[in-house]
Subunit: 248 residues, 2 copies
């Protein structure tokens, strides 16, 4: 007997941002796996086994989820935000590629509100024009790739959202990213630091590139860099939909 | 007496993807404005005025919403997907910039599941590594900007999500985009055409760049182009989290 495996996005933190399909899935699960603080967001109940695990154990977690589903469980792997954005969906398929005999399993990915879009909504509309979404962690790619993408994104005058801008283990990465931006963008470019969006700890701060410092970001921060047209309007930050000819 | 103005994302189509905070906001609204098919997704009830309007009337709609809120209404502007991604949030701030005396209004933006993330979840995890999000419509920017961004995104080996790939009025844009991709990416690059995701009309189709034709996209399609590492796994398409050194 074979069960099911769902990778579900819990959104950025607020209960009110969890979609009904994800809530329903959690209500029907026999097993929930995920990073410790995400599993802690799932209410315990009889018949539900919680399997919290540490960060950087994504592949092991995905492999365990496949086993539990193959054994008949209704298994849910929870991600913060959206599972398809630097989260568990790709890890699951990596694990599945190593177990091709399980490809026929009943698998679904359920989207969630990803951090950059919750942050953008709280700030105004800084991602209202073309943008890119970059993971600044060099755990899974060389730093040279990150730096090259930053330079090309700046050249394309894309707004940018950065996930994992700064970790305790490698605090220097974000300082290097700011240095690249200073070489490629005007000092007045707007940068929004959005920490713990939609939770009681939410804090938003928008500064210019000239004012930005590495300490403004931590592990719970999403950073949004505007494009050349991004502007302030009262406390809001937004990027117009139109883009003037001759700018790029 | 001043009211409130909320710009809310309805997600890609399925009721089960509308967040509870958006559902609650609609239940409390006095006025709902939006593009005709989006307003049609809001159930009528006594005390609720529906104000559907046509496409390309975003600025007028935003100005009307500001007026209704300033007059005391609990006004909701609905967008499909997420209001901050090529939708009504930026249009609202453009209208507000023209009416600076209204900057103190009670305004909130509520995120939603944007089409590219619902499409990615349905396909697997094609956006599981760094990616960009481009609007292929040249209504509000010169085509040269779109083409330059496509070339730079390909050079950065970003996965790409395209909104508005092809309209009835300008069907040639997507053919030009495909031509640029053929100059910059290998013919085996995977492209997913995701139409009407999460609705009964949903249709997913993944082909190689060599096989892709302009007719595969229409106004209801989001197009996702993988990066050089994106692969098939059974019926799934996913982009690994890791990125090998020396590739870029």
């Amino acid at each position: 007997m074979s069960g099911s495996l769902i990778v579900a996005g819990l959104g950025p933190g607020a209960e009110a941002m969890i979609t009904p399909e994800v809530a329903q899935t959690l209500a029907e699960a026999t097993d929930v796996l995920g990073y410790i603080p995400y599993v802690a967001r799932v209410a315990p109940r009889p018949g539900l086994r919680l399997h919290p695990s540490d960060n950087r154990e994504e592949l092991d977690r995905a492999a365990q989820a496949l086993e539990l589903a193959a054994a008949g469980g209704r298994v849910v792997v929870v991600s913060s935000g959206d599972p398809g954005v630097f989260a568990m969906a790709s890890a699951l398929f990596e694990a599945l590629e190593a177990r091709p005999e399980l490809i026929g399993l009943d698998i679904r990915i359920l989207p969630g509100i990803t951090a950059m879009l919750a942050a953008a909504a709280a700030a105004g509309a800084p991602l209202g024009h073309d943008f890119c979404c970059l993971n600044l962690s060099d755990n899974l790619k060389p730093w040279a790739v990150i730096e090259r993408r930053l330079r090309l994104a700046a050249e394309a005058d894309l707004a940018m959202a950065f996930y994992n801008p700064r970790s305790a283990a490698r605090p220097e990465g974000f300082a290097r990213a700011l240095a690249v931006l200073r070489e490629t963008c005007a000092p007045g470019r707007l940068i929004t630091f959005a920490r713990a969006v939609s939770t009681p700890d939410q804090r938003l701060r928008t500064v210019t590139l000239a004012e930005a410092t590495p300490e403004m970001a931590d592990m719970r921060t999403v950073v949004i860099v505007g494009n050349s047209q991004t502007r302030r309007l009262g406390d809001w930050v937004y990027t117009p939909r139109f883009y003037p000819a001759g700018t790029l």
